[in-house]
Symmetry: C2
Subunit: 586 residues, 2 copies
């Protein structure tokens, strides 16, 4: 045996070699994990599906509803090749809560950030998920979110980073509401004269599953609801949450409802709220929590209850007289049977109009110590009064008396190229009459359509005061959850009645939470602050799908001059398409 | 008074002056009428409507259903500025029967002649109606025709020209079928596995009006149908045909049905058929007439019956076991009340499967003497076998074993610019196996998708033999009415079973009718001849909407090199859009 071969077969060298290979692999894996591109090939199409045990047509992805969950790590690049397999409809997908830093064309808003993807076409969404948190994605064209085009997007902390709280397991809860009337018909009704309201949802869904006309908890109900009989493999079978006793679980909760504001409770279990919209909170414990459309939360529950029982997970409607039974599923303690129904009654949810309860919850939401703090001063203050209105007899929602209509040419391109006639070049008003009585129906309910934008100086600090008011009918003022694209904002405060300059003093500049969605309570106001530091065009709108459809939104833009090259794929329609076809090197 | 002023006021001169002005006007009017551009501004949108007394959502134009009737004179230019007011769907309109000589981009076929018009966009259709006749228009994207997107297009003879028959008045009958299930859901069902057939229509409509679940003629019926109670202004009130006694009326009949083949009869009145698809026929008299989807006819009726009575106009289903009651309205002799129901029973329509009756009618359709005659020889002969098939478990229709799928990029542009990868560049087969047994279900039912085209030499004469066969089930062979875009063709003959070369001898080259639509009978063949003299890309397909949706069509192209400039507006999607944005001067 030569010395070399001796060396190679010597057990000591063998171990050394193994270790060396292991180390190399480990470094390689770490490197790969550190910042990974995660590729997805998706096809959007209609499916027959029974979300609430009643067969209907839903908009799904790759043959499933809800769409697949994206799971990534902070710093990863998400690449979704989205092919439109609808028959005659365009489609886009918005990545709700992802700021799209440097990729404003990937925000997935029809008429704002891109042209819609037409049938049989493919568009590649490529964007970075820079911040860990609980997010989701959904259609942002017409009312395609309501049609079922949504799914979860979960970003874990980057490799080597740690969450500021401990948990043993994780459970995902994507909440939505569901109608039996097709979204196409809903759209026609909302834009008809006489106006036809969509009404309350038939069912609430947890992870796309609900029960129409039956209740899992019928035996506790004093109504006439019947006990559900669901086959185990039914599409509407409740998604049972399997847990081990004496562990802590992170529930990742997101609401993609079309209309409903929700309250979530887990029977006999406290919830500790630790994250909202991808930002850490000062932890606080509650028995039930509100969640408005467009919001996400992480809450921790500890499975410290009697382990021989299962427990209810219940979702019910807030802020509107509920005509929809609660959405239910079961927290299933191992090794109990997942079909074993809880023996305790449903958790008591607050009365739908108990706004004191809701405000109490909302006021507990504060940033975790050490979170970024807002600039002390604003550069610009914008007041946005939302009112219900009439335009030529059609019922609309307006902001400062302008009801948003989106143009055929996406703003991102038309602003970038300075195209005339793409949208109203007059900026919409930044304020409303001092004399407007927010407590009564509008004296003059008429408003006008508009497509103008609010243009902010790059890096300026903007305060927005969202002002609620009485709707068209006496004594009606609704909840509106507003969502901002491209940014997180600080929630500086909430108040009752009409905002006044004195209220500025009450702003919380110490530990306001960072969020991308925030509620305005009936007859109240909400103040937010953000830094216009993300070049792009960004929708800011009520996340209630029919309200947006009826014009309840505005459009912000900043730093467009800093955007170098928008991919043609996002611009091939309307005036930008025309311009590029005539003169491509503009 | 000066001699001049005397002259000017002299009555004789006054008369002369009036005459002069009249003459000038007349010339001016004649000139204007001779070749006029007729402008229309249309908005396509969804409406709540009750076509058959049951409220539904229909696709209408300018708030009406069916769309407005276009009336023009031969030689006129039609200009339709079409704005898409749908929420998320593209749209196009096909001008059925108009050959689009020199304007192939205005044929209104999605994926073939143009990119779809997206919501809020406007496309201008500008084309010449060169030939008098009865036509119609309809959506040609997805199944939007079935959704209600259709209307009449009537071209009168040019000023100074005369029709080869006399009539005193004219009545328009646009026939269609109607489902209560939304077209969106129909589309999903047809493209699902398991396959879901749309079933028979709920109602037959005459000028967009029908009656579901009641009958105008209930008192004659031995079924349990109830007498209709319709308010006079109801959207489903039958469109009564007002006539004077002892006159001759031209009924212009068009069928835009999604599925149903129809039989039309007018109680106690003979019909003299004089025109088909914009071409004059050798007149022939019948008691009832068949009309297949995509066909148009003019028939003359003489109001020579007892003038104190009204008479039934009845439309019933042919070729499929009818589950739809007849569509009815009333021929109303002046001065009888239009609400006075006829006292005679419904005209007897032939049994749905009495193909002998249908063939007898079809064989009477011959060109009026003096009509253009076909070239005596063909340059190319194409056999098209239509079969029902399976592709990966999905139910399809195929032609020579290829089921048509339309590409994202319209052929007209991708062929013109020689773009690679826009569609299958391999031409589809021109024939099928000699051994194929058309009388039995396919031995191997599997077929494949394809998007290839048949390319014809410019000005060549093409014969197409359409061969019917047994569907997937035993003893089923259906009627298929085929429609050719961009051309009229001569119908050389029909036959039973499998076409053989001997059948060529039986071709009618003497007085074959010119048409744009023709039927293939169950287990039969139909032979047509046309001259490929119209530069463009032209669909040739079964006019049954769900059959086309399931792949039952082919695409022809000819003389693309002769097309100078296709408007960019028709090309701004898919690969042509991409190409033009990168390099606009190709």
């Amino acid at each position: 045996m030569s010395p070399l071969s001796f060396f190679l077969v010597h057990p000591c060298f063998k171990a050394l070699r193994s270790l060396l290979i292991l180390c190399c692999f480990s470094v390689l894996i770490q490197f790969t994990l550190a910042s990974k591109a995660r590729h997805f090939k998706w096809e959007v199409g209609y499916l027959f599906w029974s979300p609430d045990c009643v067969e209907n047509v839903v908009m799904g992805i790759n043959g499933q509803f809800p769409g697949p969950t994206i799971r990534a790590k902070a710093g990863d690049t998400i690449v979704v090749e989205l092919t439109n397999k609808l028959h005659t409809e365009g489609v886009v997908i918005h990545w709700h809560g992802i700021r799209q830093l440097g990729t404003p064309w990937a925000d997935g808003t029809a008429s704002i950030s891109q042209c819609v993807i037409n049938p049989e076409e493919t568009f590649v969404y490529r964007f970075k998920v820079d911040k860990a948190g609980t997010y989701f994605y959904h259609g942002h064209y017409g009312m395609q979110r309501s049609a079922g085009l949504y799914g979860s997007l979960i970003v874990d902390v980057a490799e080597g980073e740690k969450e500021p709280f401990h948990y043993d397991g994780e459970i995902n809860l994507l909440l939505s509401d569901w109608w039996h009337q097709s979204v196409h018909d809903q759209e026609v009704g909302l834009s008809s004269n006489p106006f036809r309201w969509i009404g309350e949802p038939q069912s609430l869904l947890i992870n796309g599953r609900g029960q129409f006309n039956c209740s899992l908890a019928a035996h506790f109900s004093n109504s006439s609801s019947i006990q559900c009989k669901i086959r185990g493999n039914a599409q509407c079978a409740p998604p049972r949450l399997h847990v081990l006793p004496n562990k802590t679980y992170r529930l990742r909760v997101a609401s993609t409802t079309s209309l409903a504001s929700l309250n979530l409770a887990v029977g006999d279990h406290k919830m500790v709220v630790v994250e909202a919209d991808g930002n850490y909170l000062q932890p606080f414990a509650v028995n039930d929590m509100d969640i408005y459309s467009g919001e996400t939360y992480s809450v921790l529950i500890t499975t410290d209850q009697n382990p021989s029982m299962n427990y209810w997970v219940s979702v019910s409607v807030r802020g509107r007289h509920p005509q929809t039974p609660p959405g239910l599923t079961i927290l299933n303690y191992h090794p109990n049977s997942p079909s074993k129904l809880p023996t305790s009654p449903l958790p008591v949810s607050p009365r739908w109009d108990d706004y004191v309860h809701s405000k109490s919850f909302t006021n507990k939401i504060l940033a975790l110590q050490g979170s970024p703090r807002p600039p002390v001063h604003y550069n610009r203050q914008v007041f946005l009064l939302n009112t219900q209105n009439k335009i030529n007899g059609y019922t609309k929602w307006s902001i400062n008396n302008i009801s948003l209509v989106l143009p055929a040419t996406p703003y991102l391109g038309s602003i970038k190229f300075g195209l005339k006639g793409a949208f109203d070049h007059k900026s919409p008003p930044e304020n409303f009459s001092n004399h407007y009585d927010v407590m009564r129906p509008p004296i003059n309910p008429n408003s006008t359509h508009g497509s103008g934008i609010y243009k902010f100086n790059f890096n300026s600090t903007v305060d927005v005061i969202l002002q609620n008011a009485n709707a068209l009918s006496e004594n009606v003022s609704e909840i509106h959850p507003w969502h901002l694209h491209g940014h997180d904002f600080w929630v500086l405060g909430y108040g009752e009645g009409k905002f006044s300059e004195k209220d500025v003093k009450k702003f919380n500049l110490k530990n306001p939470p960072l969020r991308n969605s925030v509620v305005i309570f009936p007859y109240g106001w909400t103040a937010i602050r953000f830094v216009a530091d993300n070049p792009g065009v960004w929708a800011f709108h009520c996340h209630i799908e029919p309200h947006l459809h009826m014009g309840m939104g505005v459009v912000f833009s900043e730093g467009i001059e800093r955007i170098k090259k928008i991919p043609n794929e996002a611009l091939g329609c309307g005036l930008t398409g025309k311009m590029l076809m005539n003169n491509p090197h503009t």
